[in-house]
């Protein structure tokens, strides 16, 4: 039982930033760090992981691994865990990451900590912190089953380069990896030229106060001048002003940008759960009593239809 594995979150060779965050974090435990990558033509990505300290890169190639599918992925990683016996395996807390890790944990009858925001891993023991009750409390949990399993919240851990050997290991494709019970019909990118919410340095969000698509347009223009991602509260998503993939909150995406600007968002607890760990929070709201101001560094009591265009005009100068 040795070494920390980081399961690489990638699609068509585009590696998500959380992968590097996990590698950087894994380096801290002093144990050997390996990146584990499944896909098609992924071997060549090894130097990317070496840059962030990966001593080894387990690359599994095959058509069946091209897109995430639980059956194949779980069969494959179970075989690898049995052969190489890692002490811990970390996954991104993405939709697929949590699907994969939960299924694996059940298969191995092992404990799993999801959406982890702080971790300490030693031989045979993992101590993890996660937010519960919509962020009202932090729960510390201990896992001593083997291997130690966790999904890591994107954007919480820092990224630091450190040279690793990045030696490529190509494990055999496991028997059973071809048993696919779900057929992927199609991937439709939710196209946006803006940064992805969980990876963005700056996020501008709009809520009920946007009153409709016109209000959203105002905050989008503002966001684009800042190079920001656009998000929304439940109210603006349910009203159809923004796509579902843009919801910030407990049931949507949890964001950790340097700057979060909440426009016309009152700050329900479910929304706060998705953004309250942002470094600097600014808010524009007409209601002085809005809960969003309790978590804000800078708040403007005012109408976003007046305040935001003024900001836009200034930024354009």
């Amino acid at each position: 039982m040795a070494g920390t594995w980081v399961f690489v979150e990638q699609r068509d060779g585009n590696i998500r930033k959380v992968t590097f965050e996990m590698l950087t974090e894994a380096k801290k435990y002093g144990d050997e760090v390996s990146a584990v990558v499944f896909g098609k033509g992924v071997k060549g990505l090894a130097p990317e992981f070496a840059k962030f300290g990966a001593d080894k890169v387990y690359a599994v190639e095959g058509d069946v691994f091209a897109d995430y599918n639980t059956g194949a992925y779980v069969a494959q990683i179970v075989a690898m865990i049995n052969e190489f016996k890692p002490n811990a395996v970390l996954f991104a807390h993405s939709f697929n990451g949590r699907d994969f890790a939960s299924r694996l944990a059940q298969k191995l009858e092992a404990g799993l900590a999801t959406d982890v925001i702080a971790a300490e891993i030693s031989a045979g023991k993992g101590l993890f912190t996660r937010a519960i009750y919509a962020g009202k409390a932090l729960s510390k949990v201990e896992i001593t089953t083997s291997p130690i399993l966790a999904t890591i919240r994107p954007g919480v851990f820092g990224v630091a380069e450190s040279a690793g050997a990045g030696a490529v290991v190509e494990p055999a494709v496991a028997a059973g990896a071809g048993d696919v019970y779900q057929i992927v019909k199609e991937f439709k990118p939710t196209v946006s030229a803006r940064p992805e919410l969980t990876e963005a340095e700056v996020v501008v969000s709009g809520g009920r106060g946007c009153k409709g698509p016109e209000g959203i347009k105002i905050i989008e223009e503002f966001a684009d001048l800042l190079g920001a991602a656009v998000g929304g509260s439940r109210a603006s998503i349910d009203s159809g002003w923004l796509g579902h993939e843009l919801q910030v909150g407990q049931t949507g995406k949890v964001v950790n940008p340097n700057l979060y600007v909440a426009c016309g968002i009152s700050g329900a607890i479910q929304h706060l759960a998705g953004m309250s760990s942002s470094k600097f929070i600014a808010a524009v709201n007409t209601d002085t009593e809005a809960p969003i101001f309790n978590v804000s560094d800078f708040g403007v009591v005012g109408d976003l239809f007046k305040v935001v265009p003024l900001l836009v005009a200034e930024l354009k100068k």
Binding site: F95, Q106, R130, K136, A137, V295, F298
Partner: protein, 255 residues
């Protein structure tokens, strides 16, 4: 189609209070149906309204699942009957134990499809649905934002980080649905009154053949987070100096 919907009883998180020592007080937090499980109930009702069949509700936990208001509340939303697996050993059940109990129960009840919310609004571990599917050895998928029946199969949409995945699953299956799959209906007085007459079956762990009820994840501590020191500067209006001050902060954080 025989659909089982799983739900959890949770405290109203907005009313959980923080004690001086950082521990939590639930004195004013009423028990409620976990919000996102209501989306699963609604999804089940819509499915059965479209293709026919029945919806059964299922929950597992300690004595608080007996709460008669909550039993009525779930049944008023459409399910025709309710199963409870009540056992004091389930008071602090972790995801594995919860999944194991649900798996045993749904196997007894019989199903074509099990629907769960993506996560419970208290711990939001988002594991139970997936683990349930694995235990049952049937197709299971999370992040389901649309379900379309297609003969004996289902077409599923998943809203992922930056794409929408469409896939096809065979039944039986387990799905964990997102909170934005639908807008839930509020039951009317007629539904609430009818709910009181629907059949409720109560089992304990012994009845469904569960002997061991230990956790795989140990809770070490639960405390309120240290408050991040926010500047909490609040200005009123949109005068030029205030906008300039706002911009100063924005520019500082952009660097």
């Amino acid at each position: 189609m025989k659909v089982i919907v799983c739900y959890k009883i949770v405290p109203e998180e907005a009313n959980i209070e923080i004690n001086q020592d950082g521990s939590l007080s639930f004195a004013n937090a009423e028990w409620k149906l976990s919000q996102y499980d209501l989306n699963a109930v609604e999804a089940a009702m819509q499915l059965v309204e479209a293709v026919g069949g029945s919806v059964t509700a299922l929950t597992v936990g300690d004595q608080k699942i007996e709460n008669s208001k909550l039993k009525k509340s779930i049944l008023a939303r459409g399910p025709e009957d309710l199963y409870l697996v009540k056992d004091e050993r389930l008071k602090r059940a972790d995801t594995h134990l919860t999944a194991a109990v649900l798996a045993a129960a749904v196997a007894y009840i019989g199903f074509d499809l099990v629907l769960c919310g993506e996560g419970s609004s208290d711990f939001y571990a988002q594991q139970v649905g997936i683990q349930l599917g694995e235990l049952l050895q049937v197709p299971v998928i999370n992040a389901v934002s649309k379900i379309t029946p297609a003969g004996d199969r289902l077409i599923i949409e998943r809203t992922l980080e930056d794409e929408i995945e469409t896939l096809e699953l065979s039944l039986p299956a387990v799905l964990a649905v997102t909170a934005d799959i639908n807008v839930t209906r509020l039951p009317g007085m007629k539904e609430i009154l009818a709910a009181g007459k629907k059949p409720v079956t109560e089992w304990d762990l012994h009845k469904i053949g569960i002997r061991h009820a230990g956790p795989r994840v140990e809770e070490v501590s639960t405390l309120a987070p240290e408050q991040v020191a926010r500047k909490k500067i609040l200005v009123e209006g949109d005068s030029e100096p205030k906008i300039a001050e706002f911009l100063d902060y924005i520019r500082k954080e952009l660097k």
